[in-house]
Assembly symmetry: C2
Homo-oligomer: 389 residues x 2
């Protein structure tokens, strides 16, 4: 099985890009990744591209061939994947498989989303389509409400406080403050989070990620291709895993366990030959503060019920033993849905390669993990990245 190296990464700033189109945003990320990789666009065999809401936000479906244009060849495979907020993670996984199978030497994985051009209420309604329309959408559940239910269920079962959750938002804002790609580059404190308007009890406005425009891309290559072309690739993808769960929360036996992410993590760890304790740094899907807690437990970093205090205890902060979301996470770096999974890969690659502004916090890190989730984790993709030595 061919090994997958990350030859180059690129991304737009995450934030508001008024007046720009999704294709412009992706072209910027794509060009940046290709330039960083040293790979000629005409060598790209396949594009796996994540996008969630292009048909609504820009009246543009069928985006894969559009985003492939400009790579330097029209003779490639181009696939748009829509798995809600996990679209990007699933795109990476299919890109890795294309290389591992020997079908491709060079794969561009990426994603883009234009969101701020809609009214916030409209965006929230479009996002709600990622839940089960029959059992959740029609009764009026939106994602802030769904994650509030998860937070309630978690705290009912395991305890935990609003204050502990607030520390997660504080940590991720602190990390974003030194990341020029992030949407929010300002620090907040626990009082800010606790005093913010309630969105869906127990979650407040600062427990939630923002609405974001942005794009991200990465050039994946086989080791054989990298050697033939004298490419420098500091980081490899050593493990790739995907999982699913029921779309509707009501069908799950235990809503405090994210089985899709557990399955994805198991598969990724198996392939990489590692255990959770080997992971030095992680980028996880913190669309809400409670989501980071659930992610850390699904990844096996904590037993069920124990991750809620990780940020407050300083274990996942930049100076903690295993920093989480050094990029700022979805919470503060931003969450352009289709771009998010690949955005995590971009950030983690730079952290492991030592080229990220926050890389000093993990100077000795050798193993990192990305965790990307769709909806209330009905889909999840986990990737293990390793410094290539």
């Amino acid at each position: 099985m061919a090994e997958t190296l990350i030859a180059g990464v690129g991304a737009t700033d995450f934030g508001e890009h008024a007046g720009r189109t999704g294709r412009e945003l992706f072209a910027e990320a794509r060009s940046s990744a290709l330039e960083a990789s040293g790979v000629s666009g005409s060598d790209v065999d396949a594009l796996y591209y994540g996008n969630y809401m292009g048909e609504t936000a820009e009246e543009q479906s069928h985006q894969a061939p559009l985003m492939a244009a400009g790579i330097g060849t029209t003779n490639l495979e181009a696939t748009r994947i829509e798995n809600a907020c996990a679209s990007g993670g699933y795109a990476i996984a299919d890109g890795v498989r294309a290389i591992e199978s020997g079908a491709a030497d060079v794969v561009l994985v990426g994603g883009a989303e234009r969101m701020t051009n809609l009214e916030t209420g409209e965006t929230t309604a479009v996002l709600a389509r990622a839940a089960d329309e029959l059992h959740e959408g029609r009764p009026g559940l939106t994602f802030p409400g769904a994650y509030a239910l998860l937070a309630d269920a978690y705290m009912d079962r395991f305890g935990g406080s609003r204050d502990a959750l607030a520390h997660i938002a504080v940590k991720n804002h602190a990390n974003a403050a030194t990341n020029p790609k992030a949407q929010f580059q300002s620090e907040i404190d626990v009082a800010d989070v606790l005093e913010a308007p309630t969105v869906a009890d127990p979650l407040g406005l600062l427990d939630a990620c923002p609405i974001t425009d942005g794009a991200a891309a990465a050039v994946l290559v086989s080791r054989a291709y990298a050697e033939r072309n004298d490419l420098e690739a500091a980081v490899s993808i050593a493990g790739s895993g995907r999982g699913t769960d029921t779309l509707a929360l009501q069908a799950r036996e235990d809503v405090t366990r994210m089985r899709a992410a557990e399955s994805a993590a198991d598969a990724a760890y198996d392939q990489a030959g590692i255990a959770p304790e080997d992971v030095d740094v992680a980028e996880v899907h913190d669309c809400f503060t409670i989501a980071e807690v659930l992610a850390l437990e699904a990844l096996g970093f904590y037993e069920p019920g124990e991750a809620i205090t990780a940020a407050a205890d300083g274990e996942t902060t930049a100076d903690g033993e295993r920093p989480v979301n050094l990029s700022g996470g979805l919470k503060a770096k931003g969450h352009p849905v289709g771009a998010t999974g690949v955005g995590q890969l971009v950030e983690l690659t730079k952290l492991l390669a030592g080229t990220h502004p926050n890389a000093d916090a993990v100077a000795d890190a050798e193993v990192g993990v990305t965790h990307n989730a769709g909806g209330t984790v009905a889909t999840a993709a986990v990737h293990v990245l390793e410094v290539d030595s």
Copy 2:
């Protein structure tokens, strides 16, 4: 590289399914395919699922985990692919790759679309989002108009008549008349086509496929899995190819050549080790009569400019030397967008296995091809199926 066998196929009737949801339609196709295959649902490793317009027609994005529910496991990979009308063909291709790579032993590929619940004008507008919004959508181009431009360009360059195109519609209706799964089970004649209302000159209403609800699914397995489980699989997927072209027609050097389909066919033929002349039967993407002409040329069955008379000359009719669209094609069997590519696979598998009502026309056939195209063939997927001996 593991070989891919088709263990079972299933589909709903194509047509109007008023009052039924996409999930119901897909459940019917999925159950039918699993039952035909003899494979236990809990053995399914991955679902690749095509859907084009679920967010609009049913306010349901993130359909992959929804459609995976009921398979018999929640621990699998589930991916929704949206490549416009080629969503299903691309889903098949990723499913084949999952098996070839050794990552999966059993993959369910499928697709579903609910379309007739919208007004026809609204559906046409949603379909137009599969074209380039900036360069085609905004100026008002819809797909009947786009294919009319292609027909004009073709006839300008090579000649050909409305009458010759009409024979394609007549042929496909004749085939559908004996296919109980087809939306239209009535024959038409050339005069009917020529006298039908003009949709976009030179194309009339009977040059166009209908708007359709439906779902299709196929269970793909590795040969090793089939042998371990004593499965009977009469047909294999010997070649899989994908291609792309510019989304906007204006960016192409020659709009009478469908480069995406040519690339996809080349790749599929290469893998199968065959040439176009080895193909005994084909299901091609005839969303409009002119599209069948362009498909037959892209597949290498005819030189450019020569396929337009194939139906009129009886070469592609049921009693011709290489029957095309024995199912009735998109034209008469129907075109539930996300299901169409897998629907072609379902029909061709039955034709090669001798279990299709129209199978007598190709009793000695050993090699068949499916050709599935997105938009004005900005994406295309081609698969070579062989009788497994």
